[in-house]
Amino acid sequence: MPSLGLPIFGQSPVTPQPAQRWRSLAERDGTVDPAAGNYPDGEQPAPEGFSRRSFLQVLGASTALAGLSACKAPREQVVSYVKRPAGVTPSVASYYASAVSRGGYGVGVVVESHEGRPTKMEGNPAHPASLGGAGLHELGSILDLYDPNRLSGIRHHGQPVAWSAWLGELQVLAGTLAKDGGARLRVLAEPTSSPTQADLRARLLARFPRARVDSWGPVADDAGREGTRIAFGRPLDAEHRLVGADVILSLDADFLATEGDHLRHARDFASRRGQPTGMNRLYVAEGSFTVTGGAADHRLRMRASEVLGFGRAVAAALAANHGLARLAPLGAPLTGERSRQATAVAADLARVRGRGLVLAGRRQPAALHALASALNEALGNAGATVVYREPVLLDAASGPDRLATLAAEVKAGLVDTLVITAWNPVYTAPGDLDLAALLAKVPNVIYLASRHDETAQVAGVVVAAAHPLESWGDLRGRDGSASIVQPLLSPLVECVTELDLLAAFVDQGHLGAWRLVREAWKVRAGGASAGGTDVSDAGFDRAWSEWLSTGLVATPGAAPVKAALDGGRVATALQAVPPARPGLEAMFAPDDKLLDGRYADNAWLQELPHPVSKLTWDNAASLSPATAARLGVKTGSQVTLTLRGKSVTAAVLVQPGHADEAVTLPLGYGRAVAGPAGAGVGFNAYALRAAAAPWIDGGLELKATGKQHELAQTQEHFSMEGRSIALSYDAAKLGEAVHQLEELRGPQESLLPLVDYGKEEYRWGMAIDLSKCIGCGACTLACQAENNIPVVGKEQVLNSREMHWLRVDRYYEDVHAAGGKVTGEVETVSQPLACVHCELAPCEYVCPVNATVHSDEGLNEMVYNRCVGTRYCSNNCAYKVRRFNYLDYHQVVSPQLKMLQNPDVTVRSTGVMEKCSYCVHRIEHARIDARVGGQKIGGDAVVSACQQACPAEAIVFGNLNDQGSKVARMQQGERRYDLLHELGTRPRTAYLARLKNPNPELA
C-alpha cells in the first residue's frame, strides 16, 4: 500500500499504522456522502495516517479539495490535519531526503520542514555529490518554491486550460503525430540523468520512432565527454578524486565552484589543506578569476585560449624531461616565462605519479580534455585520482550543436510540435540562432516553465512546472548512484513535472509522476532481483521507504570502466584545434550565482556577493587593470561590446588578477522577460555568443559609451592595508610565522574583572580555517536561509545596508616580482566574518538599554524587542558585523514567502539591530534534546547553519569547554589567531591562518 507518510531522513521506515481511511474532513465528519461523489476522485487510496507534509495555509480546509480535480494535474492528494498527528510535534522540524538536479546530475539534499513547510535545503551527508555540504543553488533554490511570480496552470495562447481538458487535446495531437512516426515532433529537454525519464523517452521513441529528443544545456560540460570520446573512443564521465591528489593542475577548470561535483571536490580538496605537511598543491591556469583560482597555490594568469597551449607545454615538458615519450606527439613547447612554469608544473606532476591530477575546464575545447585524459593516463593518475564511468546523462551532448540542428530543422519547416522542457532556450540559445523568430514558425510549441520568461512569451502552450520540492522524480549522481526526488509538500500552484508532460505523449499523462517513478523503480528492482532484492509489494515498499529515508537508492552505481587511450586521436584532435581568433578575447562563463540564468529571479542569489568580485544585483564585463587602462575604462564604465556583428551594452568591472587582453562575460543576466528580481539586471552575454564558439571567442570590440553604471559591490576596499586580518603563510615558512601568530592570540590584560567562562558547562565558540575556505559564499546564503535574513535590493546594497549576518571578505594582495615590481598577479584570501561573540564585547557596554548582553555561556545576545536602535553598538563594533534594519525589509515579503521563514528565528522589525546569534536556536534545540536524554550537549552536537553548509568544512562550531570537541582542538592549534586581538575583545570565533603550498621552483 503506498504511503504518503514518507520516511523521515535518517530514520528507519516504520510500518504504517492501520488507520481509518477518509478523504476529506467532511467525509470523516459525515457531512458529505462519498457515494454522492462529493469527494475528490483521486485514483489512489486515501493516505494512511496523516501526512506530515500537508500545507495548511495553501490548501485551506480540506473541503476545498472537492471539485478541484478537473483543473489540476493528477497527484497524490495531501490532506491538511486539524489535530496533531501522532509523531509530529509543532515547532519540531522534520527532515526529508531528496535530490536536486545540477546540470542533470543529482545532488542529494536534506530538506528541513516545519509543519509541512519546507524552510531550508541542506546537503545530504550520505550523498556522494554533497557529503553534507550545500552549494549556492541548493541553498537558494528553496526561495524559488515560494516565488509569488511562479506560473500556475496551463495557458494556451494566454487562455487558461484545465489539465484534464488539455490532456485530451494532447492525446489527439499525439495521435496525429504518431501517424508519420512522429517525424514532425521534437523534444528539447533539460539535461537529465533521470532513469525514469530514460524509460519514458524510450516509450516515447517507441511510439514516435522518427521523433527526436535533444537536450539543451547552455553551460553543459559536453567538452569533457567529447574529450573522453576522443581519448577513449566513447564518451565517459570523469570522476575526480581529489583526496588522493598531491598535485592538481586545473586547466581553466573551476572545479571548486561551478563545475562538476564541486561540493565533493571542495570537501576533498580542503581535506588536504591546512596541515603543514601532506598538503596538496593546486595550479590553476585560467583567465577569469574564479573561486578555484582564488584557492590556488599558483594561479597562472592567461587567456582562456592560451590554456590549451599551456597544457601542451606541460605535456612537452613531461615528454622531454620525465621520460613520458608517448606524450611527445601531444606536446608543443612554449618559450619564456610560460615555459618555465610549464616545466615546473610538469616536474611537480611527474614527481607524484599516480598522486597527481589534471583537470580541464568546460569551456576548453574537447581536445584539451582529451589531453588531460592523456596526461592523467601517462602519469598513472587514471584509476587512482581519476576514474571513468559511462555517462549517466541521457544525452552525452547537450551543447549548441544539437540546438543548431534543431534550429535548422525548424527553419526548414520540418517541425510541427516542439516540446520544450529545457530552461528558457530562447534566452539561452547562442545569439546567432535567433530562436525566438524560429519558434514562431512552429505550430505547436509546448513549454514547461516555472516562470514567465522569454521562451514562454513565444510559446503557444505554457505549462507551469513543478519545483523539485513539489515533484516526484529520480536523478543519478556522476558515480551512478541514484536518488529519488520526493516532494515535500503539495504543489503551491497548479503545475506538472517534466515526467508528467512527457508521459502525456504516451497516453500516461493521467498517471502522475509518483506512479511513473515508482513503477519504473519497481521494474528496475525486479531487473536487479537476481541480486536478491525482494520485489514483492511489501518488499519493494520497504526498499522504497529505505531509499526515501536515506536519499539514496540502495543499488550499486555504475562501476568504473577501463578504457584504452588512443594517443593518436588525441594528437589529431589537438592539431585540429583552430588557432585563437585575434583581438580582444571574449571568455564566456556561467555566473557563480545565477549559473546559466535560471536563478535570475532568485533574490537571495542576486543579492549574494559574487565570491570573487563581491558584486551583487549585476554582472559585468570583467577585465584586467592593465587592459582597462589601455582601453580607458574603469569599474562602472558603460561599454558597448561587439562580437561577430552583435552588440550589447555592459558595465565594466576591473578585476585584479584577470588575464590581460581578455574580457569575461558572465552569462545569465540581462533578462528581458523575468520577475521583479531578475528583469533588467545586468547585460545578456548570450546575445554575443555564437554557436560555433560558445565559450572562447576572439575579436571582441569594446567601446566606452561615456556613461556610468552603478555596480553594487558589498566590499569596496580590497586591500588589507598591511594589517593582520586575513593571514596567509607559505606552509614551508609556518615556523617563522608562529611567533607572529602567538602575538595574535591569548588573553590580553584587562582592567575589568573578567568572567571565568571556563567554569561554565558550555563555552560556545567557533573556529574558521582559512586554509580550507574557498570563499564560495555558501555560508552567507545558508545563514540567510536559516535566520530569515531579508533581501534589501540593489539600492540598499549600494548604500552598504545589506543584511547578511555572515559576510565573506576577500582581500587581494599583489604578487610582486623579484624587484618589488607589480606583476599584475594577485593572490586572494577569503575570510568569512560574522559576529565573533567577544567575551569583552565593545557593543555591550555602549548599549543604553541593555539590548545586547552576554549570556553565561558566552553568547553575545541581541534582544530585539529591547533594542531602540541607537546603532551605538555597531559604531563600537570593531568587526562591523552588526546589521541594522534601516527600513522595514520584511514588509515587502509576500504572504507566500512568509511561509519560507524559519519559525525558530524571530523576524526583526524596522529600527532594530541584528547580527549573528551563533544559531542560538540550534543550541537550544540541542539543549532540549540533551535534557530529554538526561545528558550534556555534546561538544560537537551543535552545528551552526554556516558550518552545516560549508562544503569545505572550514567552519566548526562547538563547546570550547569540552576539550574533546573539534572546535576546542582547532582553537588550540598553532595556526590559531584572533582577529583584532590587540583590542582585547577576546573573540570566541578564532581563525586558523591560511597556509599555501607554493612550488619553490616557481617562487
Binding site: 580590497f718 548604500n799 546603532r871
Partner: protein
C-alpha cells in the same frame, strides 16, 4: 533712545570701550528697548519669517519622513551608522553653550559687559538646545521607545545601562535644557512685568501679566530674586562643562580610532564655547542693527566675544594637534590611519574646510582693527559655525567610514532628508528666534538700568575723587 556721545569720565583700563553708550534714563531705556515689541510688524520681519517658516516646513517634512520610513530615509549605513543626525546634535548642543556661559559664568565673574547680551545668548541657547534635543530622539530606530533610556521603575525591572554614555546624555541634556530655561525665564520676569505695565493693549497686558507671575519689583522681591538668580547661575555653571563633557563621552568611551580620545571632554567644551560665541556673533550683528540697539550691544561686546572666539579657537586647534600627536605617539596603527585618512581620505575636503574655518579664520582676531570690523566678524563667525559642523562630521562619520577591517569600509552620502534635517533645523531655530525678537525684550531692561546706575555710581566716584574727594552715592 538717546544717542549722546559717550561721556564716561572714568574708563576701566581693562574695558576701554564703554559697555553702554551714553547714560539714558530709565524711561528712555524702557521705551527704547521695548519699542521693537510695540512697533507694527515690519515687512522685512514678515518676509524673513515666511521664508524661515517654509524652511521649517521642510524640516517637519523631513522629520515625518524619518518617522514614517525609518532611519533608512537617511544616508546612514553600516559602517557609518551615525552621520548627520549626531553631527547636527553635537553642533546644536555646542552652540547652546554660549548662553549659559555668558549668563552664568560671566555673571559669577561679574563681567558687566555680559548684561546687554545675556538674554539674547540665553534665548539662542534655549532654541539651540531644543533643536539639539530632537536628534537623539529621532535618530533612534524606534523613536517611540526613547523613554527606555530613562531610569524608571519598569515592570521588566530593567534599568538603562549606566555604563553607556547615552543615558547620561539624556540626563545631561534634559538638565541643561531645564536649567537654561529656568535661568532665562527668571531673568525675564522683571521685564515681563515691565511689559505688563507698558503694553498698549489689554490682551498683551493680560498675557504678559500672566507670565510675569505678579512681579511688583519690591525690594524684598528683588532680594529673593537676586539670590535665586545667582543660585541658578551657580547651578548652570557646572553644566557648561558637564553637558559637552558627557556628549564627548559618546565618542570617548568607544574604542573607535578617532573617537577613543581622552582629550575629548575639554576639547569638546572649548569647541562648544567656540561655536556658541560664533553663533551669538552671527545673530547679534544683524539683530543690533535692525533693532537699533547698537548703543546697548556695543562694539565692546563684539570685541570681547571675538577674543573668546580666538581663545577657544586656539584651544580647539590645540585639541586637533594633540589628537594627531597621540595618534603618532601611541604607536597605534589604526589610530594613525584614522588621522591620515582625514588628510588623504575621500572626505579630505571637509577636513581642510574644518582647518581653514576653525584654525585659520579666528586668527584674524589677533588684530583689534579686524575685531572692530563688523563684516570680518560676521564672516568669521559664520566660518566658525561651518567649521565646527565640519569638525563633528569629521569626528563622527569620517572616523566610522574606515575603521579596523578594510573590507567593511564604505562611504556615506546624505539624502535630502539629511539635508532637510540640517537646514530645516536652522530655519526652525530662526523662526523661534524671530518670534523671540518680536514678543520679548531682547535686552534685559532691568539689568541695563542697573548697569547704568552702577556706571553713574562709578562716574560719581570718579568725579568725587577728582573734585571733592567724596561724592555720589546710590542713584
Amino acid at each position: 533712545m538717546s544717542s549722546k556721545p559717550a561721556t564716561a569720565a572714568v574708563l576701566d583700563p581693562l574695558e576701554p570701550v564703554p559697555v553702554l553708550v551714553g547714560r539714558p534714563d530709565d524711561r528712555a531705556l524702557t521705551e527704547g528697548l521695548l519699542k521693537p515689541l510695540y512697533a507694527p510688524t515690519t515687512r522685512g520681519w514678515k518676509l524673513l519669517i515666511t521664508l524661515l517658516a517654509a524652511g521649517m516646513g521642510f524640516w517637519v517634512l523631513s522629520l515625518l519622513t524619518t518617522l514614517v520610513v525609518g532611519i533608512g530615509a537617511w544616508g546612514n549605513n553600516i559602517p557609518v551608522a551615525w552621520a548627520f543626525d549626531i553631527t547636527n546634535f553635537v553642533w546644536w548642543i555646542g552652540i547652546g553653550h554660549a548662553g549659559t556661559l555668558i549668563s552664568a559664568i560671566l555673571l559669577l565673574f561679574q563681567q558687566k559687559w555680559r548684561t546687554s547680551i545675556n538674554r539674547f545668548a540665553e534665548a539662542m541657547t534655549l532654541f539651540a538646545v531644543a533643536m539639539a534635543g530632537i536628534y537623539p530622539i529621532i535618530h533612534l530606530g524606534r523613536p517611540w521607545l526613547f523613554w527606555w533610556l530613562m531610569p524608571y521603575p519598569a515592570t521588566t525591572q530593567l534599568w538603562p545601562n549606566f555604563k553607556s554614555a547615552l543615558p547620561w546624555d539624556v540626563f545631561a541634556i534634559s538638565t541643561y535644557a531645564t536649567v537654561s530655561f529656568l535661568f532665562w525665564y527668571i531673568g525675564l520676569i522683571p521685564d515681563l512685568a515691565t511689559l505688563r505695565d507698558t503694553a498698549p493693549t489689554r490682551l498683551k497686558r493680560t498675557i504678559y501679566g500672566l507670565f510675569a507671575f505678579g512681579w511688583r519689583g519690591s525690594a524684598r522681591a528683588w532680594q529673593h530674586y537676586r539670590i535665586g538668580y545667582l543660585l541658578m547661575a551657580g547651578l548652570g555653571t557646572p553644566l557648561v562643562v558637564s553637558v559637552h563633557t558627557i556628549v564627548s563621552f559618546d565618542f570617548a568611551i568607544s574604542q573607535l580610532p578617532g573617537w577613543h580620545t581622552t582629550i575629548f571632554p575639554p576639547y569638546f567644551v572649548a569647541g562648544a564655547i567656540f561655536s556658541g560665541f560664533a553663533m551669538v556673533v552671527t545673530l547679534m550683528i544683524p539683530a543690533r542693527k535692525i533693532l537699533g540697539i547698537e548703543d546697548v550691544i556695543t562694539m565692546k561686546h563684539l570685541d570681547n566675544m571675538a577674543k573668546v572666539i580666538l581663545a577657544t579657537g586656539m584651544m580647539v586647534s590645540y585639541g586637533y594637534a594633540m589628537e594627531h600627536f597621540m595618534a603618532w605617539y601611541s604607536g597605534n596603527p589604526d589610530e594613525a590611519f584614522a588621522f591620515i585618512n582625514r588628510w588623504t581620505g575621500p572626505y579630505a575636503p571637509v577636513w581642510y574646510m574644518q582647518l581653514v574655518c576653525n584654525v585659520l579664520a579666528p586668527q584674524v582676531f589677533w588684530f583689534p582693527s579686524l575685531r572692530a570690523n563688523l563684516k570680518v566678524l560676521f564672516v568669521v563667525s559664520i566660518l566658525v559655525n561651518i567649521g565646527m559642523w565640519a569638525e563633528r562630521f569629521i569626528i563622527i562619520a569620517v572616523s566610522l567610514h574606515r575603521d579596523f577591517i578594510p573590507a567593511s569600509w564604505s562611504m556615506y552620502t546624505p539624502t535630502w532628508v539629511d539635508w532637510g534635517l540640517l537646514f530645516g533645523s536652522m530655519c526652525t531655530f530662526g523662526v523661534l528666534f524671530l518670534l523671540f525678537l518680536r514678543f520679548l525684550p531682547v535686552i534685559p531692561i532691568a539689568e541695563v538700568k542697573e548697569l547704568r546706575r552702577e556706571l553713574d555710581h562709578l562716574d560719581a566716584q570718579a568725579a568725587g575723587a577728582a573734585g571733592h574727594g567724596h561724592g555720589g552715592g546710590t542713584p
